[in-house]
C-alpha cells in the first residue's frame, strides 16, 4: 500500500524563468516554421532564429534556475514535474524525439540532387556553415551532428551550473563537451574540408563497428593514404590496447562518461532524465540478457565479414554482409538512435548504454574483472535514503551495496559519479586502488548476505 501523499502544486516559476522558457518555446516554434517554409531566405532566418533562441533561452533558464541558488544538490520537485517525472510533457518530448529519429534514418535520404526528404528544409539552412567547415553542402547527417553538438554544449552549460559545487562533475562535463565539439564535430568536418576520410577519433569498434570491418578498412587505406593507415591503426590500438589499459587503471568511465559522444549526450541533454532508469532486479536481468548477446553478435558479424572478404563469398555466401545490414538496422539505427535517445524522457538517458552498447559490454567485462576501479562505501555511514540509486542513470541499485557497507563493482557503472555527488552523508567515493580486497565490505557494518543482489 502506497501512502496517500497529495501531490502539491509546484512553486510558481519566477517571471524571469518564464521568459526564458518562452524563448525556448518560441525557438521550437521557429524551427517548426523553418521546417514548413518553402521560401529559402525565410526558412534560413527561422532556422537560425530557432537555434539562437533555444540555446540562449536554455542557458539563461539554467543560469536562473541553478546559478542563482547556493551551489549544491538541486533536485527539488524532480519527480513532481511532468517533464522529468514521466508526465504528459515527457511523453510528448519522447514522441517528438522518436519521430525525429525515424524521419532522420528512413525519410530524409538525399536523392543526389540536394533533396533530403522530410528534413530538407532544415538541412539547407546549414549549407553555408557546412561549406565553411567541410567545403561541401550540408546533408541530413550534418544537420543531426549540429543538433547533437548544440544539445551537448547547451545542456552541458546547464550541467555546469547545476553541478558547480562538484569539481569532478564540472571537469567531467567539460570533457564530454570538448570531445563532442572537437572529436565528433569539428575534426570530422575539417577532415572532409581537406578531402580526407570522415573519421571520429573518439569512436571505436565495437561501438563504431564499421571501423574494423573490411570495407571501411580498405576504403580508409585506399582514400586516406598515410592518414587512412593511421586511422585504421588508431582504431585497432584504441579497441584492443588502450581500452584494456585505461579501463584497468580508471574503470570504464574514462570512455563512457568522459569521452564517448553517446555518453556525452546522456550526461548533458539526458541529465534531467537520469532518475528514470529502472532500478529493479528484473531490469538488471534484462540488461545482462541483451547487452552481452549484442557484443557476441558484433564479434561474430565482424569475423564473418573478414572471412567473407578473404574467400569472396565462396564458402559462406552473403551471410556476413546480410547480417551486417540487419545489425546496422536493428542495433545501429533502431536501438541506439530511436530507442536510445527517443526514450530518454521515459526510460532514462542510458537505455542504449545500459542495454545495447557492445562497447559498454566490453568495457564492463574489463571493469568487473580487470580493473582497479570501484566505488567505495564509507564504513557504516549509509542511511539507506536511496538518493544514490535514484540518480544512477545505469539503473544500478547503488543503495543495496552502500547499506551493506560493500564497494560497488558493477560491469555497467559508467563512473559518472552522481551517486557520490548526490549522497547526503558523504558515503560514496569513486576510487582507483589496489585490486586486492576490491569487493570486500566494511567491517564496520555487517552485510546481511541475503539474496539482495541476486
Amino acid at each position: 500500500m502506497t501512502p496517500t501523499l497529495t501531490s502539491p502544486p509546484l512553486p510558481a516559476s519566477s517571471p524571469a524563468e518564464k521568459l526564458t522558457l518562452a524563448a525556448v518555446a518560441a525557438g521550437l516554434l521557429a524551427l517548426l516554421l523553418a521546417w514548413a517554409d518553402a521560401d529559402a531566405a525565410r526558412r534560413n532566418t527561422w532556422f537560425w532564429l530557432a537555434m539562437g533562441s533555444v540555446s540562449a533561452g536554455t542557458l539563461a533558464w539554467s543560469w536562473l534556475k541553478y546559478g542563482q541558488h547556493p551551489a549544491g544538490v538541486q533536485q527539488d520537485n524532480l519527480w513532481l514535474r511532468a517533464s522529468t517525472g514521466r508526465g504528459a510533457v515527457a511523453w510528448v518530448t519522447g514522441l517528438v524525439l522518436t519521430g525525429f529519429y525515424v524521419v532522420l534514418y528512413w525519410f530524409s535520404d538525399g536523392d543526389g540532387k540536394g533533396n533530403f526528404g522530410l528534413l530538407n528544409n532544415l538541412v539547407h539552412p546549414l549549407d553555408g556553415f557546412s561549406q565553411w567547415l567541410r567545403a561541401k553542402p550540408a546533408d541530413q547527417w550534418f544537420l543531426y551532428g549540429t543538433f547533437y553538438t548544440v544539445a551537448v554544449l547547451v545542456m552541458g552549460g546547464r550541467a555546469l551550473w547545476k553541478y558547480r559545487h562538484s569539481r569532478y562533475q564540472v571537469i567531467r562535463t567539460i570533457s564530454v563537451m570538448f570531445f563532442q565539439l572537437g572529436f565528433s564535430f569539428l575534426i570530422p568536418g575539417l577532415l572532409q574540408f581537406f578531402q580526407k576520410p570522415e573519421f571520429y577519433f573518439n569512436y571505436f569498434w565495437p561501438l563504431h563497428y564499421q571501423y574494423l570491418w573490411p570495407n571501411d578498412v580498405h576504403d580508409l587505406i585506399k582514400n586516406g593514404q598515410a592518414l587512412g593507415v593511421f586511422m585504421v591503426f588508431w582504431g585497432a590500438v584504441m579497441s584492443f590496447v588502450a581500452t584494456p589499459v585505461l579501463t584497468y587503471f580508471y574503470g570504464k568511465r574514462w570512455y563512457c562518461s568522459w569521452v564517448c559522444g553517446c555518453g556525452g549526450l546522456a550526461e548533458t541533454a539526458g541529465d534531467p532524465y537520469r532518475q528514470l532508469s529502472d532500478k529493479s532486479r528484473t531490469a538488471w536481468r534484462w540488461e545482462v540478457r541483451i547487452i552481452y548477446p549484442v557484443l557476441a553478435l558484433i564479434i561474430i558479424i565482424t569475423a564473418l565479414l573478414w572471412v567473407n572478404a578473404a574467400e569472396h563469398g565462396d564458402v559462406l555466401g552473403d551471410a556476413g554482409p546480410v547480417a551486417a545490414k540487419w545489425y546496422g538496422f536493428a542495433i545501429g539505427s533502431v536501438f541506439s538512435g530511436v530507442i536510445g535517445v527517443g526514450f530518454y524522457p521515459i526510460m532514462g538517458s542510458r537505455v542504449w548504454c545500459r542495454f545495447g552498447c557492445p562497447m559498454a559490454a566490453y568495457l564492463g567485462l574489463l571493469q568487473k574483472h580487470f580493473s582497479r576501479f570501484r566505488i567505495s562505501t564509507n564504513g557504516a555511514q549509509c542511511i539507506s535514503c536511496g538518493n544514490c540509486s535514484n540518480v544512477c542513470e545505469m539503473g544500478i541499485d547503488v543503495q543495496q551495496y552502500a547499506q551493506r557497507g560493500a564497494p560497488i563493482v558493477r560491469a555497467s557503472c559508467v563512473g559518472c559519479g552522481m551517486c557520490s555527488t548526490a549522497c547526503p552523508r558523504g558515503v560514496l567515493n569513486l576510487e582507483n586502488g589496489p585490486r586486492e580486497g576490491r569487493t570486500q565490505a566494511s567491517p564496520l557494518i555487517h552485510a546481511d548476505s541475503l539474496r539482495i543482489l541476486s
Binding site: P3, L78, C385
Partner: protein
C-alpha cells in the same frame, strides 16, 4: 522458533535479516501498522521535496520479503499478553510468538504547549506525519519550525523548497548547541542565512494560536513575538513509543527497560532501537539512543541473543552524520560541544566558510586523538575509527590526514592548509604532512 518483531523500521528489519542469516529455519514475522514494507525514515524529507518517490525510499524491493521468508503483517499490535505469549492486532486477529522483539520506535515529543493539537501542528517522524505535512502545507506562505536539531533544519529545508517561508525557533544561543561547538554552529547558521531562512536563537515556543476553524494561525514565542503562520513543525525531539509495552507487564521508564543483552523484564521479550532504555548504559553513552545507526546496531545485536548467542550491546566508537542544506556533517568519536577538561581541540576552517575540521585530542602527551567533527569535508570512517581505537597521537593523525580524505576526485585538498594551521596553533606539536589522499597512499 517463531520470532515476532513489532515494528518494521531499521531496528526490526536488521534484526529480522540477522536472524534469517543465523537461523535459516526460523519463522519470522514483522508487524507494522505504519507501512506495508520497510522504508527509510531518514529519507522522508526527500519524498516531500520531490527528489524521490515513496517507492524509492524502500531499501528492499517488495519481492525481497517473500524470497527470504520474512512474513509481513500490516496491522497494529494493540495488546501484549506476555504470559500466554500472545499479541492482539487491530485487524481483529491474534498472533502468538516464541520470542518477541519490541522495536516500536518513537513518537514526537510534545511539551504541553497551548494549542499543540490545532490542525496544522505536527512533528515529523513517520509516514502519517509526511502525509499530514504534504496536505497541510498546500498553498501556505509561512511555517514555524520549533527546534534547533536535525529535524528542525530538515523541516526548514523542506518548506524552503516549496517556496514557503520558514521561521525557526531555537532554544539555545546557537544551532544544535548541545552537540556543535560555536564555530561549527556558526557555519550551519551561514547555511540558514544563504537560504534566507530566519532563525530566532534563544527563543522558545510559548503558545500556538488557532483560528475559528481550529487551524493554527500564529505562534507566540517566549520573547513575546507573535509570528503569523499557517503551519507549525515541532522538532523538539522524540520519545519512546510505549503504547504496546504499557499493555503488558514489561517494565518501562521513559523507554522499555533493557539490560545489556537488550532483554526486557519479561523472558522472551526483547526491546531494541529508539524505544529501548538501557538500565546501565556504557560509559559516556546515553540510556536511550534514537539514531538510524544505533537502531541498526541494536537490531543486529539483539538478533544474536534471540538466536541463543547472547551478545551484549556494545555501540563501539560513535559516529553520526547529517546535512544542513548544502553543508555535510560527519562526526566520529568523542566530540563535545563545550570545552572539556583534559581535552584539547584543534579547529580549522576554510576561508570561504564552507568547510571545517575539528580534531579532539588528549591535552596530555601522547595527545591521543579522541574525536572528529567534519563540515563540508568527507572523512573516511575506517581511518577515523582506527585512529580513535588505537589512541593515535594527534601528530600521527595530522601527518597522515590524507588517509582519511574521502572527498571525490578533483576536490580541492586542504591537508596542507590544515597542517600549517595546526602548526601555528600548536607549535609545540608541529608536524609535517606525510600522506596525501588516495587509496594507494594507505598502503
Amino acid at each position: 522458533m517463531h520470532l515476532v518483531i513489532i515494528g518494521n523500521g531499521i531496528t526490526g528489519v536488521t534484526c529480522a535479516l540477522t536472524v534469517r542469516r543465523l537461523q535459516p529455519e526460523a519463522r519470522i514475522t514483522l508487524v507494522s501498522g505504519e507501512s506495508a514494507h520497510h522504508y527509510s525514515r531518514t529519507a522522508l524529507m526527500y519524498v516531500y521535496m520531490g527528489h524521490l518517490r515513496y517507492q524509492d525510499i524502500k531499501p528492499y524491493g517488495d519481492w525481497f520479503w517473500d524470497e527470504n521468508r520474512l512474513g509481513l503483517v500490516h496491522a497494529t499490535a494493540t495488546a501484549l499478553n506476555a504470559s500466554e505469549k500472545l499479541l492482539t492486532l487491530d485487524n481483529g486477529s491474534t498472533l502468538s510468538y516464541d520470542q518477541l522483539l519490541l522495536a516500536t520506535g518513537s513518537e514526537s515529543k510534545l511539551f504541553g504547549w497551548p494549542g499543540q493539537h490545532l490542525a496544522g501542528v505536527q512533528g515529523l517522524y513517520g509516514l502519517p506525519d509526511l502525509e499530514a505535512m504534504a496536505r497541510d502545507t498546500h498553498g501556505i506562505n509561512r511555517g514555524v519550525v520549533v527546534g534547533g536539531g536535525l529535524i528542525g533544519v530538515e523541516l526548514a529545508e523542506m518548506l524552503h523548497t516549496r517556496g514557503i517561508e520558514p521561521v525557526v525557533l531555537v532554544r539555545d544561543a546557537r544551532y544544535w548547541g548541545s552537540v556543535l561547538p560555536p564555530e561549527e554552529a556558526n557555519l550551519v547558521d551561514r547555511q540558514f542565512q544563504e537560504n534566507h531562512v530566519a532563525v530566532r536563537y534563544g527563543t522558545e515556543l510559548r503558545e500556538i494560536l488557532g483560528d475559528a476553524q481550529g487551524r493554527v494561525r500564529a505562534v507566540v514565542t517566549t520573547a513575546g513575538e507573535e509570528i503569523a503562520c499557517q503551519w507549525v513543525g515541532l522538532a523538539t525531539g522524540v520519545t519512546p513509543n510505549l503504547t504496546l509495552a504499557k499493555t503488558s507487564d514489561v517494565e518501562t521508564d521513559k523507554g522499555i527497560l533493557v539490560d545489556e543483552f537488550l532483554r526486557t523484564s519479561v523472558p522472551g521479550v526483547f526491546a531494541a532501537g529508539d524505544c529501548a532504555q538501557h538500565r546501565q548504559p556504557g560509559a559516556g553513552e546515553v540510556p536511550i539512543e534514537q539514531l538510524w545507526y544505533t537502531g541498526r546496531m541494536q537490531g543486529e545485536t539483539v538478533a544474536h541473543t534471540i538466536c541463543g548467542q547472547a551478545t551484549a550491546y556494545r555501540r563501539g566508537i560513535w559516529f553520526n552524520s547529517a546535512k544542513f542544506f548544502n553543508l555535510e556533517y560527519q562526526t566520529y568519536g568523542q566530540a563535545p560541544a563545550e570545552p572539556t577538561p583534559g581535552l584539547s581541540s584543534f579547529y580549522w576552517e576554510h576561508p570561504a566558510a564552507r568547510a571545517a575540521l575539528r580534531i579532539y585530542f588528549q591535552a596530555d602527551a601522547p595527545h591521543a586523538v579522541v574525536g572528529f567533527n567534519a563540515l563540508g569535508l568527507r572523512l573516511r570512517h575506517a581511518a577515523c575509527e582506527r585512529w580513535i581505537r588505537e589512541y593515535a597521537p594527534v601528530g600521527t593523525v595530522l601527518a597522515h590526514l590524507g588517509a582519511a580524505n574521502f572527498d571525490p576526485e578533483f576536490t580541492r585538498q586542504h591537508e596542507k592548509a590544515i597542517v600549517a594551521d595546526f602548526n601555528r596553533q600548536f607549535p609545540a606539536l608541529a608536524v609535517a604532512l606525510k600522506q596525501r589522499k588516495g587509496l594507494f597512499a594507505r598502503f
